[in-house]
């Protein structure tokens, strides 16, 4: 048994096990060290732009009180920096000088390139060719920040293959390199570590909503690809049994909604696979949700009934994307547009939505669809 029932674990080649042990020990020591928390807090407030505000979206959802947690206002434009900063501080504690990462939409790649520039680390980011086409501005940003982007030109040419290649790089360079994984996936302790670093979203939002409304939300909604913004948000409300936790997957990449138990990228979770255990392709207009796996904690929360997971189609996400822009003057990323689409029709009045990133990167893709 793991921290997440039968989900999670360490399904990786032996070569990586000592590095995972070292990471786990370094993480426990950091968590118990006040100076680690103080440094993270300092970086969050003086560099990253925390705390991020809550915005009431009255024109987007008339008749409801939908609050947006504005992770799109973070430095680099998405929640990914919370995790990248924390892991960079950890990597320095572990004495690593080289960082390797995967990216789908490019937001995690940009966040990683950003912290590597700030900390003076060598940075290599693996990205599928299809995603490099869809998210060209982010490829260019990573280059400006001094990272090397390596194209992955086989298989699905998306996040799944980029993650496999990043892990292969880590296997090869494990003694000098920290793998800065971008979501709450991968072998233990990564899912737990990423959730903890992202839980600042939920802690802040809970406090802010109580201050604004004097009560807790009826529902908390977040998009789920690998699931890191959702798990960060959900962690703020896990103990509040009356608060519904709703994860929104892309309909064509619903690892929790239509998947089965399997093993991908080092963890046992709910994944898109055929009856032989071969991983199947995910399909989403949103590169950040276009992934056939999901964090093991989400599979666990689903099974114990603490969180529910629903889907939104490409068309529904595109509609919500446009409507938030026109009614609130906020251009969301396509990923949280999935959460916005479902939040509006939810049978609840006071709702908190994680607006996990901004949509500049998606303009070309959205304009091509219209």
């Amino acid at each position: 048994m793991t921290a997440f029932g039968t989900y999670g674990g360490r399904f990786v080649p032996e070569t990586l096990i000592p590095a995972l042990d070292e990471l786990e020990q370094g993480w426990r020591e950091a968590l118990a060290d006040d100076s680690f928390h103080a440094e993270l807090h300092h970086l969050a407030t003086t560099y990253a732009g925390r705390p991020t505000p809550l915005t009431l979206a009255e024109r987007f959802a008339p008749g409801k009180r939908i609050y947006l947690k504005r992770e799109d206002l973070m430095h680099t434009g998405a929640h990914k920096l919370n995790n990248a900063l924390g892991q960079a501080v950890l990597a320095r504690r572990l004495g690593k000088q080289r960082i390797v990462a995967e990216t789908g939409a490019g937001q995690h790649g940009v966040a990683t390139a950003t912290v590597c520039a700030r900390f003076g680390f060598e940075c290599v980011v693996y990205m599928g060719e299809e995603d490099m086409r869809r998210q060209k501005p982010n490829v260019e940003r990573m280059g400006l920040l001094g990272a090397e982007v390596r194209a992955v030109d086989f298989g699905t040419k998306t996040l799944k293959e980029a993650t496999s290649e990043a892990i292969r790089d880590w296997i090869t360079n494990v003694e000098t390199t920290h793998y800065l994984i971008g979501s709450c996936v991968g072998p233990a302790p990564y899912p737990e570590l990423v959730a903890e670093l992202q839980s600042v979203i939920g802690r802040e939002a809970r406090e802010q909503l109580l201050a604004a409304e004097g009560r807790l939300p009826e529902a908390v909604v977040a998009c789920v690809g690998g699931g890191s913004n959702a798990i960060g948000m959900f962690h703020g409300f896990l103990e509040d049994a009356d608060v519904r936790l709703v994860g929104v997957e892309a309909a064509g990449a619903a690892s929790l909604g239509t998947g089965r138990t399997g093993v991908l990228h080092g963890a046992r979770s709910s994944i898109l696979a055929d009856e032989d255990g071969q991983i199947t392709d995910a399909h989403s207009i949103s590169a950040g949700l276009d992934y056939p796996g999901v964090g093991p904690e989400h599979a666990y929360l689903r099974d114990i009934g603490r969180a529910e997971y629903v889907g939104a189609t490409d068309a529904e996400a595109l509609a919500a994307f446009g409507e938030l822009a026109r009614t609130e003057g906020i251009i969301p990323a396509l990923e949280p547009a999935h959460a916005l689409a479902r939040a509006r029709e939810l049978d609840a009045e006071l709702i908190l939505v994680c607006l996990s990133g901004r949509g500049d990167k998606d303009l070309a893709e959205v304009l091509a669809q219209s």
């Binding site: 674990g9 360490r10 399904f11 990786v12 080649p13 032996e14 070569t15 990586l16 096990i17 000592p18 590095a19 086989f154 298989g155 799944k160 496999s164 892990i167 292969r168 296997i171 090869t172 360079n173 494990v174 003694e175 089965r260 138990t261 399997g262 093993v263 991908l264 990228h265 080092g266 046992r268 696979a273 055929d274 009856e275 032989d276 255990g277 071969q278 991983i279």
Partner: protein, 230 residues
């Protein structure tokens, strides 16, 4: 005598190729059951797996190839090598039982390190990064022999034999009491000779997969060149 292990990807031609490898002097055949996301494999084995999957080589078909190979290679041990997702889907016990009925001797799961599911008996792997504690654990859990991964990296040919093998072999000799076979990055008779001077056997994968594409005659000659070197 040193043991020679040859890896082949399970495809319709594999039984005949395995026979050729045995004729060339292979003592053990490793039979790859392809997986869509093989984290431990470099480009050659990954591409061979993609091709096998495109040809419909799923678990059932691989077990059939295993049984057909069994019929052609007399008593030569055949060891399936695959990834955890395949067994998770097929059923761990059912896989062990069905593979054994089809003629397998043990198995290797590339992403299931020692300590996980010890009840699933298999050949364990250790790497240059493994601590002494982990080498001892793998030695205690392994089934028959211990697979020494010569380098920190994925499968595939390298220019030179990994300098890490000597230290790994020395530590494993001290800590475990089973035969030690070295693999990863061994592609030439010179590599095989050097590795066999340290370990009890050598495993050759990526280069064998490439040569197998040229047919059974070429594979037999290649395996014979390795056999002669060790």
């Amino acid at each position: 005598m040193k043991k020679l292990v040859i890896y082949l990807m399970a495809e319709p031609e594999t039984p005949e190729l395995a026979r050729a490898a045995v004729d060339g002097g292979a003592d053990i055949v490793e039979l790859g059951f392809p997986f869509s996301d093989p984290l431990a494999d470099g480009p050659v084995v990954r591409r061979a797996g993609e091709r096998a999957l495109a040809r419909g080589m799923r678990t059932r078909q691989c077990l059939d190839v295993l049984a057909q190979t069994r019929a052609l290679v007399d008593d030569t041990p055949i060891v399936p090598m695959t990834y955890a997702s395949i067994l998770e889907a097929y059923g761990w016990e059912r896989f062990s039982e069905d593979a054994a009925s089809a003629g397998a001797t043990s198995m290797i799961i590339a992403d299931l390190p020692a300590g996980e599911r010890p009840e699933s008996r298999r050949v364990q792997m250790v790497a240059p990064t493994s601590t002494d504690e982990r080498i001892a654990l793998a030695g205690a859990e392994t089934d028959g022999w211990l697979y020494l991964v010569t380098l920190t990296g994925t499968t595939g040919a390298r220019g030179e034999l990994s300098p890490a093998l000597a230290g790994l072999t020395e530590r494993a000799r001290r800590l475990v009491d089973v035969p030690l076979y070295a693999g990863f990055g061994i592609s030439t008779p010179e590599h095989a000779r050097a590795a066999a001077e340290l370990a009890d056997g050598v495993v050759v994968g990526s280069r064998a997969v490439q040569v197998a594409e040229e047919g059974p005659g070429a594979l037999r000659d290649y395996v014979a060149s390795l056999r002669a070197a060790i």
